[in-house]
């Protein structure tokens, strides 16, 4: 039987913890991703928010926007929660848990910009939220198809067996696209007009890492 760590994607085994058939594991690949997430959670915890500066068009004038402390506190909390959800998605060895963490990343992404009073930002966040909500259909659908065809959701068990249908893999990737909004840069560009630079950064970061992990999962199972 082929093990997870025999596959080229994963690299060397660092750690694995056997909970019945669900096995959380760290290979060099997922271990590196998890380390990156922890670094960015620490950045979100310790960094101070930016002061946005607007430059008046056609002149030398510029003015700094006011930073509302309670709103920034909420954004910081949501950024840390987003980091925690991303960390969960990196560590988990279960496909359904991965989809749940992906949805939680989508929720916290909305939360990070929700405190912003800017109407354009809120509008973009709302439209993005609707896309993320629709993305639960392919996400959960993909996981359900994997469960129906193979009888298992464990990445460890399914690794290298090649029994997962291509459609289920495609649905998983499609769902992560919806949650991570990386392809929907038009909506995202408006969202990141929200102030509070280190926290808004977490939106990009979580979507990037979700993609890296879902590619690993799709190549392994």
């Amino acid at each position: 039987m082929i093990q997870v760590f025999d596959l080229n994607v994963e690299g060397r085994e660092l750690f694995s913890l056997s909970f019945g058939d669900i096995v959380p594991y760290f290979s060099v690949y997922t271990g590196a991703l998890a380390a990156f997430v922890i670094i960015f959670i620490l950045i979100a915890i310790f960094s101070l928010p930016e002061r946005q500066v607007n430059i008046a068009f056609g002149g030398d004038a510029y003015y700094a926007k006011e930073v509302n402390v309670p709103d920034m506190r909420f954004s910081r909390f949501m950024a840390i929660a987003c980091g925690a959800a991303t960390l969960g998605a990196m560590v988990t060895g279960d496909i359904f848990n991965f989809t749940l963490f992906a949805v939680m990343v989508g929720i916290t992404n909305i939360g990070i910009v929700a405190a912003s009073g800017n109407r354009h930002v809120l509008n973009a966040a709302f439209q993005y939220g609707i896309v993320a909500m629709l993305a639960t259909v392919p996400l959960f659908g993909g996981a359900a198809l994997i469960l129906a065809t193979t009888g298992s959701l464990s990445i460890w068990v399914l690794a290298g067996a090649g029994v997962v249908p291509l459609l289920a893999k495609a649905l998983l990737v499609l769902g992560v696209m919806g949650e991570g909004i990386a392809p929907l840069y038009i909506g995202k560009a408006e969202i990141i007009r929200a102030q509070g630079a280190p926290y808004v950064l977490m939106i990009h970061f979580s979507s990037l890492l979700l993609f890296l992990r879902v590619i690993e999962i799709v190549l392994v199972i």
């Binding site: 749940l100 909305i110 659908g141 359900a144 469960l147």
Partner: protein, 200 residues
């Protein structure tokens, strides 16, 4: 071979198509918000089709993340459209807590009286905590103190009956059960008055 799973999958796909098509047509943001719930339910429908114990265990977390996302979106919609009625003063200041406490408290108190004894007092007390914590009106501390005092007397009287007239044990049990119900309920209900207001 066509199994019920395939028929269900076909039906679900049809529903999903209808949902996504309606998204193409719909322009109103509020209606879109309601349609997203339809899509989330369809996702759960596909999981439910698998029909194993594991699939059943996946429904609840799926439902929870779907609902939490819907609530977050609804909140964004309220702020975006500027139709928030009032500024939220506390974390728990949400609409349902203005209407639900009276009904829930009544159900819990009645169920607590039926249970009687310590667990009954805990259940009824929980109902009163819930009522006092979310209904903003002045507490009648004197009433709670008086009830608590009588409850204590009843309890002690029940113990005397146990010791002096052991043949009347049933009356003593009833008195002690009722007493401790009131005592625990009164103690519990005080928690509901701790709203962090000055002087309480």
């Amino acid at each position: 071979m066509i199994t019920p799973f395939h028929i269900g999958l076909f039906a679900a796909s049809l529903c999903i198509l209808v949902t996504f098509f309606s998204f193409l047509k719909e322009r109103d943001d509020l209606h879109k918000l309601i349609l997203t719930d339809l899509a989330a339910i369809m996702a759960l429908f596909i999981i439910a089709l698998v029909g194993t114990d594991l699939a059943e265990a996946l429904i609840l977390p799926g439902l929870v993340v779907g609902i939490s996302k819907l609530m977050a979106l609804a909140e964004i919609y309220l702020v975006k459209e500027g139709i928030q009625q009032k500024k939220n003063s506390t974390v728990l200041d949400i609409e349902v807590l203005d209407t639900a406490p009276a009904i829930l408290a009544a159900i819990l108190v009645i169920y607590g009286i039926v249970l009687s004894g310590f667990s009954g007092g805990a259940v009824a007390g929980l109902g009163i905590i819930f009522y006092l914590a979310f209904k903003k009106h002045d507490e009648k501390f004197e009433l709670i103190e008086t009830v608590s005092g009588y409850a204590w007397v009843t309890w002690i009287a029940a113990f005397f009956i146990f010791l002096i007239f052991p043949s009347q044990w049933f009356l003593a049990v009833m008195l002690a059960g009722g007493g401790i119900l009131l005592k625990v309920m009164a103690k519990f209900s005080l928690i509901g008055t701790m709203r962090g207001d000055p002087g309480v």
